[in-house]
Point group: D2
């Protein structure tokens, strides 16, 4: 490391949630960053180890209240926003007003929809920072890499959407499937719901059972519509159903495609080619289907294509860890692009299985 | 109970597996039967409590080898066959040759397909008892009740298929959906795989992860084809993908229907009407989606219908316990019909949640 | 059933929690009771099926606010109190003032400690109904059966304490072990913590991990002290550590006993004799150790005794389902005694495994 | 990295099991080693990705049969033996005869007991390589660091024993507790049992339940006896009971100590001092108790000390990941010592929670 390789100063807003903890896990082992700020309003004054004891052996800043941060003194290079949906837009607006050169990776849904009207329709209130929404870059690195490198504000994608988009965007771009007949049956571990206490996320409510939720209507649909339509060059509206799996981490999207313009093997070849040089997207051999456990704790997405027994149809699988590639790992990948680091830096962990 | 209400003598062939244990659980509390025979070749000579310690407090026959049974002396009224697929057909053939009046509920797949050619295609070998296959009645009580009452040999349906068929048969009979566009995304607990030691069913291979299997090709498809085609009065081939959930019991089928001839609400009304008098099929209010945990350990199937955001499409959910309504509970329901008992007898357990 | 066998009218106060749901599960199948009242203040006006969808197929009273109950009109024979610790004593006091003949089984900790001073020490506030505390009978049926039959108010024991007491009371009564060297290492499923949303009971906080809590100090100790001292005829204070297992139901107490006055086999013989006629306590063969899964959903307690490799020591196992024998099943057993029904009525369910 | 920093060549014998996979996970990210050999007799010829798909994105040697290895050509610097107990001693003997300079870290139990008679007593057969057993160094790095640095053959400790020994050895060395009254109640995840298919390790046999095994007699006792006696300078025999937790990874030992020579706080201070400079043993603040989830996937051991309510007694907790610090992480730590690398190299992963 040369003298110019000084470490970047990084802040995490909302460090007491699961995506916050996952950022800390990854950044503690990132060779080019220092964590200089951790905020958590309800837990301000506590040590991170009080909130997440796995960090007991490490030195980390005490949790601070967001309002109490001395930005001038701190001068962070980049902050991750891991705050709740809806409140983030105002926080980021204020922050950029105070620290104009600051780079931001936002993990909430607040800046993902480029269309102000679509945001209002899906989230039920007008956007509080429409001028920022215009500048924000959608942070799916494999698709928007060059834009992300130059962005000040990156909207990290949703976990379900990342999973489905990595599988389908190349196919829609190539016009290889019928865009009007997509069915995405998605299954997620519980950490996607965050850490806040909810009766329906209690162990006894989740374990030894399986259910769907948001059937027919789910906010991630707006994001899918945007990205699928951009990829296809026409409006695409897919059927999408999320389910809750009694496990902590992982998303598997089982995607049903019809109206194939070519053989299922050709879909596979297309994905293989699209991601040939991507470090974090791995296409399994034709006929193999991905499992969430094989990407747990890693930043990998595994894709698989299988022929349906019905001609002209294929079943596509996409598996990622919702907290890593589906959230905090993707966010670090975006940080690497924004700060000029190697894209894989700090993200080389091998999946933890069993 | 009058003098004529003497108890029926019941045998269970293959009592050391999960469906065997589930039969014992239910029959121990059935007021009109006595368990007179339990077979388990590999464990012959052992007590049932050695194999399933939950039965320690109860008096049960010692596990016997099938070949060692003295049928003349025993004179059972009905036996449940919970033996592996493929071997059952020969066992039942021999058994009926020896005990011609015996009634049989077979829980394997051996007698489910009425068409000998279809059996051979799906199972890879010719059927060993084609004359019995012709006599066997498909044991989905809600659909074939009257035939089951008169049957000597009932082929208990598969767990996945029961789940999908109860949801779709009334809709196909009414020509309410497009029969060429059905997608069934099914998720099952692990007990569907049986008790035999398999590396891929070890706790560490299943927990904290989610995956599909048999993608594109699965033996339950033959059964679905048969029943869906019968219901629709034309050939129906559906897309079907099974998945494994890290839980013991339960199947949820998420079913995507298109080409609706009427509103999703009308599909719901149709199911509600079809099952109005059925004790074991409960249709949730329109818009509600079933969860496997709410039927755990009970013989209930919960159905739900939700409108997709895309017009002309609906999402239908069907949840049952694969060991109860999906196997042994359904088998006892068939036994009740075959022996003239009240259909719900011994099956009134309320679901165990949490 | 004769004309005099009319059904008893039963109320459940606090029906929206797990012990409430478990009471409903059991009472729905009890041939001699009708559930005439379900209260749940926060959910008043809702159907029980909204709170616990497994009850959708059954007719049950709408959830009522406690204050809105018309006791005169309702005239229940017995109510179960499944309300939070601390608030119950006042509720029961008021209730008995209004309905003097009412029988009550209280599932909270409020009336378990006969000694007012001990209550205040363990719970941190003076008891609000000391005169009732004096009348309350400790509801461990196997030990206090005759008193329970005549009681108006029964204090249902804690789940951990039932597990440890059934194992140790006969041994302490017989002076068979050193009362000063008892170590109870107990492990419980999560439902013991109730249904209320708590961050530390979220699925992701509990699954794939194991921990102790209340180490060194836990409220169940007061109850253990009382019952062990009564059994031994001298003061007994045991070491007790509870742990949380990532499972819904079940408690296993691993109990270390020293200073054996005889061989470990003799401890086993003593337990076998003590419980020879008990329908809900089953002593496994010497050397076998109980598992929680084999009592799941049943009212059984399984006990086991194993010799330690160190002479003069034994290891005793006690397994029960914390919601059934450890709470609601025990409560129904007490109700049966109090109302003169057969003690096992409604409690004959066989354990649900797998 | 300088020219002299060439990478060491490492082999893994028995790579298709869980400890093998964990070694690969860790070594793939170790900057100073190359994996040059993976053996797995039953799976020889397969890719590691066929056996553990999480390794699909990485280049690894094809699985080889042990007999087919060309040792001359390969010239490994060190091999890890992750072979079954009992067979390893012969394998290592043959191996060292062929490759005399080879260093070996053995993860089996074969070389852990220095006393040949003790080995025969616990394992039921004479040791096949007693001369090697004499040379083998017990590989608990924190205790035997200097010997390990010079060793050719290191016997990696058992997972249960590492957990208990790290907690108790300093206390026994200091004569701070009664060595005749130790009770170790240990709880482990399922991966400790290995990957081979076993009926009792099937998901449905393990989930939603809890049980003890090896009660009164367990092979790890021999190892505990050896190390505790060495530490105390007299014979120490402890009571030890292992339990199975429905989780993949982690061991928690709840240890009951009596006869304290000083206050529980002094035990805590003693542990704190003993491990002040150790990178992989972290002592929590007095009164805090460790949880397995906070060390998952890391090489850390968390220790905690709590005062019992009974004077003169303390409860000590020790948590580690049985596959990492309890097996493969400990093995890599030993490799680092044996090959002169920094002890923490390749072991810096932060725990994965949630």
């Amino acid at each position: 490391m040369t003298a110019t390789d000084k470490k970047a100063k990084i802040g995490i807003l909302g460090a007491s949630g699961y995506t916050g903890a996952e950022l800390v896990r990854l950044l503690l082992r990132h060779p080019r960053v220092n964590i200089c700020l951790l905020t958590a309003d309800r837990r301000a004054g506590k040590a991170m180890a009080d909130v997440f004891p796995q960090f007991s052996p490490y030195h980390l800043p005490t949790l601070a209240a967001l309002d109490a941060v001395d930005w001038k003194k701190l001068e962070p290079d980049l902050v991750f926003c891991a705050l709740p949906h809806g409140t983030t837009q105002k926080v980021v607006k204020d922050l950029l007003a105070r620290v104009p050169a600051l780079k931001v990776v936002d993990l909430s849904a607040d800046f993902r929809l480029a269309d102000v009207a679509a945001y209002e329709r899906w989230y039920g209130h007008p956007h509080a920072a429409p001028e920022l929404q215009k500048k924000a870059v959608y942070g799916l690195s494999e698709i928007y890499r060059e834009k992300i490198k130059k962005a000040q504000l990156v909207a990290n994608p949703g976990c379900y959407t990342s999973s489905a988009e990595l599988a389908l965007i190349p196919l829609l771009q190539a016009n290889a499937i019928d865009p009007d007949a997509i069915v995405i049956d998605a299954k997620s571990g519980v950490t996607g719901a965050g850490r806040g206490a909810r009766e329906d996320m209690q162990f006894a409510e989740v374990s030894e059972g399986f259910h769907a939720y948001g059937v027919g209507q789910h906010r991630h649909m707006g994001e899918l519509d945007q990205e699928f339509s951009l990829a296809a060059g026409r409006e695409v509206i897919a059927t999408f159903t999320p389910h809750l799996v009694p496990m902590n981490r992982g998303i598997l999207s089982t995607i049903y495609a019809r109206g194939l313009k070519a053989k299922p093997q050709d879909l596979h070849a297309l994905l293989l080619k699209s991601y040939a040089k991507e470090p974090f997207v791995h296409v399994l051999p034709f006929g193999a289907f991905p499992q969430t456990r094989h990407v747990r704790g890693s930043n990998m997405t595994f894709l698989g294509v299988v022929a349906d027994r019905i001609a002209g149809r294929a079943i596509i699988g996409s598996a990622l860890d919702n907290l890593t590639k589906g959230a905090s790992g993707q966010a670090v990948q975006n940080m690497n692009l924004m700060l000029g680091f190697a894209e894989t830096m700090g993200l080389e962990q091998v999946a933890l299985f069993p």
